[in-house]
């Protein structure tokens, strides 16, 4: 579905992505891990066609997007939903207008139909009665969830999540993780999830990649990642979630991660 071939991206002299290759097959959920500032958000923006690459190819759903003109690129983007790290809600609009934005721009749905979809998506992210509020009136975690609802509004085939659970309480975190898993399993969307939260990573990921110095350090299924013999990777996974991954004897935690390690 998405494949990245030998992509390089630098800002002035600062090389951020440095010859990266990456495959994301249809229907998989790829978790991207890596130290802060290693270029995860930049990579998501490259996939969405928001940032140009210096060299290399980016294929999305069978089309090479790096040299595409605006119009065909916008056609492809309608299949993509993206949750920004900062949520990036339009602050001149209400929550409902934010979520309905794509419907309003690209379809002829009536106000009533749009309102129904808005309510439905808000319910998915466990928010109620915020339709008429402005983004500035929401908490950080609420903004994130509205951003997620907006990303889902057009029923995308590909969803790019930039730190979907950062800043959320543990209960909401778990709900969001379940939502990501459900979307993946029931609607067969292809997802790319950037996260620092190992709990979330192992609960939603069907594939994982660890970025390091602009390249992939390790790539594979979660099971393979745990068994990978790489100190940088193991440090990252262990420091992130020692209990959930190591404590195989703890059935309660295991239930929450929704996956049996090893």
């Amino acid at each position: 579905m998405i494949s990245i071939k030998n992509v390089r991206k630098a800002f002035d002299t600062k090389k951020v992505i440095n010859g990266l290759d990456l495959e994301i097959p249809r229907g998989e959920t790829l978790v991207i891990m890596g130290r802060s500032g290693c270029g995860k958000s930049v990579l998501l923006k490259i996939i969405a066609g928001l940032l140009s690459v210096d060299t290399g190819e980016v294929w999305v759903d069978g089309t090479e997007i790096t040299k595409l003109k605006k119009k065909p690129l916008n056609q492809i983007r309608r299949k993509i939903g993206m949750l920004f790290q900062s949520a990036a809600l339009f602050d001149s609009m209400t929550v409902a207008e934010n979520i309905a934005f794509m419907l309003d721009q690209h379809t002829d749905l009536s106000q009533q139909e749009m309102r129904k979809i808005v309510d439905e998506k808000l319910k998915l992210v466990d928010l109620h009665g915020v339709q008429e509020l402005r983004p500035a009136q929401l908490s950080g975690g609420m903004r994130k969830r509205v951003g997620l609802a907006r990303a889902l509004a057009f029923n995308p085939e590909i969803i790019l999540y930039d730190e979907p659970t950062t800043g959320l309480d543990p209960v909401t975190c778990t709900e969001i993780n379940e939502l990501i898993r459900d979307l993946n399993q029931q609607l067969e969307v292809t997802s790319v999830v950037v996260t620092h939260d190992m709990h979330s990573a192992f609960s939603v990921g069907t594939l994982m990649v660890m970025l390091h110095e602009g390249k992939q350090l390790a790539y594979g299924t979660p099971e393979a990642m745990i068994n990978e013999d790489n100190p940088v990777l193991q440090q990252f996974i262990l420091f992130g979630a020692p209990d959930q991954i190591l404590n195989i004897d703890n059935p309660t935690l295991k239930k929450f991660t929704g996956r049996k390690p090893q």
């Binding site: 928001l50 990036a88 934005f101 794509m102």
Partner: protein
Amino acid sequence: MRNPPSESASSNGLAFLIKNRLHSTLSEIGEACRLLAETIFQIFRPPWQFDLLMKQLLFIGFNSLSVVLVSGFFTGMVLGVQGYVQLKPYAVEGSVAQFVSVSVVKELGPMITAFVLSGRIGASITAELSTMKVTEQIDALEVMGTNPVKYLVVPRFLACSIMLPTLTIFSTFAGIFGGYVAVVSLFGFNGYFYVLEVQKNLYVGSVLISLIKATSFGMAIAAVGCYKGFSISTAGGAEGVGTATTGSAVISLITILVLDFVLNHILFNILGLI
């Protein structure tokens, strides 16, 4: 002791700096023209979103009408007083009405309106768009398949091009009225004669000049405001927004002055309008 190599390095440095500066200014003008070209291209492409245009028209109108009226009125008063005092020694103070109306219609009406709008509207366009840029809202628009030029720039560009001539009509009347109030109340000038003189000197050509100038200024203000808003780097932050906003006001003032000179030359000397 002086160190010769360092001196040559510093003069090289200066040349380098000037060259760099020139290069970046030229490439900025190029970028701004590209944005302008895309804006004009997008204006003619459906779908048209009239609600967005309406919102901008109202925003500009509500924000600027009172300031434009007051500025126009006082400019007219100043012209009335100055004109009367300057013309009196030559015993042609009767021409003060003509002096006020011609200056206001052809020059000061569009100019004052453009100055007011470049400070109020141009700067606010830049502030809004650059904030959207640094908070990734423009990225969000693009990801959702909406062209930011079409969605954000086109309505602002059209609204400025429509509202500037509209508000210029108001400021022109306010200016002529200001001149009237000044000369009639301060110098006991004959009000009826003033009105007659104004009417006599109001040509279609002058009104056309006024409107052409005003429309051009409106386009310039919107183009500069939008370009400055868009050209901010995502990494600019709040500081970048501030710099872009003041930069926008200054650049559009200079653009208006240069444009006024060019238009005067074209309209009066080449096309021979009066």
